[in-house]
Symmetry: C2
Subunit: 364 residues, 2 copies
């Protein structure tokens, strides 16, 4: 809390923090309670981490990756003093278990795989030694995530003109990462350069991450933000209130097709119809080059009651049919540019994607 | 309650019904309680009718007109046995008062004016005779509304193929009229012809008329309905789940530009992008030929708390900016056809609009 002024990011509660050594605990800002309550939960079991990811207490592909990495540290603690066979078996159990929490978030699998490789690379080490290294690796993932956010902000800020309206969907902010976020990092960086930006935040039904989280984050940073219903996005474009759209991503295929929060596809089509650039900001870890196109990205379907019983009140008739896909896929042709921590991919083609993120993706 | 089977519309609670003679009462289905409670309110004073319109217990331009007409009958009952001067004075008071309930609803003024003309046309009659005629006129307005709905359904049903998915936005059903509705009348008529139709109902933020009312109505009629969030409309089109879109209208300009519930414009653009026909169903009374185009239609902006405090819970940070236009305007170029009680306007051009509704609009 050393920040000098109230708008400093340093006074904003952190999305997640690890406390203690390898037998420590993970603290998460419970995002389901925002914006009316700002409360942390402490996870000391892998089940608590799984539940926090599943129930979106922690969310956003990068933040899920970091949380899952710490979840592995927590889950393997029980075999820290066991023999390696027992430890490795537990590691497998824990990673398999955590992998079931959110099927679309590629960073989840990436982080779990990375921790597994740590153990593989230390075949002769004691369980406790491996366990300490798992924590170090989780910390690295977190640190890299912060650096990634800063780099995305730096590269993306160039894309936003001064005195413009920017529309965003869902929350791709600091709450979705360990750092400043992806899409919002771009806005924060542009604002830090002195650009005047008015953000339009889609409320983002059904779970209202835009109204609850994005609006809250921007307000914390003193960036002007106007909340709209998702159905108003087309109309604010028609009224020339926005000059750019920027969103995050959950998974990006090799051709640039992008899975993101349901509604992103509609916003991309509406932006295209109004001649407004549509940007996606995401780290290279969000790219899944094993998928040739977005058709191969699995779409998580969530429970009906997210729509019929929002926020404690029944708003649709009992027994009505509901369709609740959590994500949609925006074809690359609607994406003006992809902003990564390595640079901007523009135009969005298979070749450019490969040039920018191909090598790291292969080596990871 | 003479319907033979449970799916008959006759068993569905009526939007509004008049009970008794000119000293009778108006029963309204309280739409603010739907879909969890299906309760009628009985209005025996004009203040109760005013309150019901103001608080959206009865809503939808045609239904408001009918309710207001019966409200005049109720309000003038106190002077039924008085002299004509006192009766006429009371009539003026009552119409002035009811006119303040929803100042933007054009059918409200139209109905009130029509009842006033009844009295003007009977200068020598006794108050009780005029009062009886006011009831007869209110009943006529109701009957004409039912006939209008049936005719729209008949004309529109041809447009929907068998075995199709139809997306609708907001509620343009029986709950918005005395009859079967406008957009939903088309779906009901197509279903009555034996066509298999799966409706996708946009929940329609912020007030959820789609989830609360459209889904309820369709369920009552045993028509398969799936509620989606507004942000999912584009994706269900992309997934080829819908082959047509049909919505109602609040006001239609002379060139066919259509004002309807916010979000309609986005749906129209998305339909266009997917090659899906986009239909608007509305009576000829909804056309405002005094407006050359939709640019001249004023857009009502509503309170911020409809967005920030939905569902009985605060869902956006205190003090955040909000933009809440109640309507948007869909340009005629995105509308495949306009379905009226007189027939289908297709293509939607100024000339075709004038041919179909020009004469009556001038005479009304």
């Amino acid at each position: 809390m050393s920040g000098g002024h109230t708008s400093s990011p340093s006074v904003i509660p952190r999305t997640l923090t690890w406390h203690g050594d390898a037998t420590g605990s993970l603290r998460l800002l419970d995002q389901t309670l925002l914006p009316t309550e700002c409360r942390e939960i402490v996870c000391t079991t892998v089940e608590q981490v799984w539940e926090a990811i599943k129930k979106l207490r922690v969310r956003g592909a990068p933040a899920i990756g970091v949380a899952a990495a710490y979840g592995v540290v927590i889950g393997t603690r029980t075999t820290r003093d066991a023999d390696r066979r027992a430890f490795d078996q537990r590691l497998q159990e824990v990673t398999d278990y955590l992998a079931t929490s959110r099927p679309t978030a590629v960073n989840l699998f990436w982080a779990l795989e990375r921790l597994q490789q740590v153990a593989v690379a230390m075949p002769d080490a004691l369980a406790a030694q491996v366990h300490d290294r798992l924590l170090a690796e989780a910390r690295s993932i977190e640190a890299e995530d912060r650096a990634m956010c800063a780099a995305i902000g730096r590269h993306g800020a160039e894309l936003l003109p001064d005195c413009c309206g920017v529309l965003t969907h869902c929350n791709a902010g600091g709450l979705a990462t360990a750092g400043d976020g992806t899409a919002l990092a771009v806005i924060f960086a542009a604002a830090a350069q002195g650009k005047s930006i008015q953000v339009y935040a889609d409320e983002t039904r059904p779970l209202l991450q835009g109204a609850r989280l994005t609006a809250w984050e921007l307000q914390q940073r003193n960036i002007p933000v106007t909340v709209i219903c998702d159905s108003m996005a087309g109309w604010v474009m028609k009224e020339r209130r926005v000059q750019a759209v920027i969103v995050g991503a959950d998974r990006i295929a090799a051709n640039g097709d992008t899975a993101n929060k349901i509604g992103t596809y509609s916003v991309a089509l509406l932006a295209k119809a109004h001649g407004i650039p549509f940007y996606v900001a995401a780290p290279s870890t969000t790219f899944d080059l094993s998928l040739a196109s977005g058709d191969q990205i699995p779409i998580e379907e969530r429970a009906a009651d997210e729509i019929t019983h929002s926020f404690g009140r029944q708003t649709a008739p009992t027994g009505v049919g509901v369709y609740n896909p959590a994500f949609d896929v925006t074809p690359a042709e609607y994406i003006t540019a992809l902003v990564t921590e390595r640079g901007v991919i523009r135009p969005v083609t298979r070749e450019r994607v490969w040039e920018m993120v191909g090598i790291a993706s292969e080596s990871s």
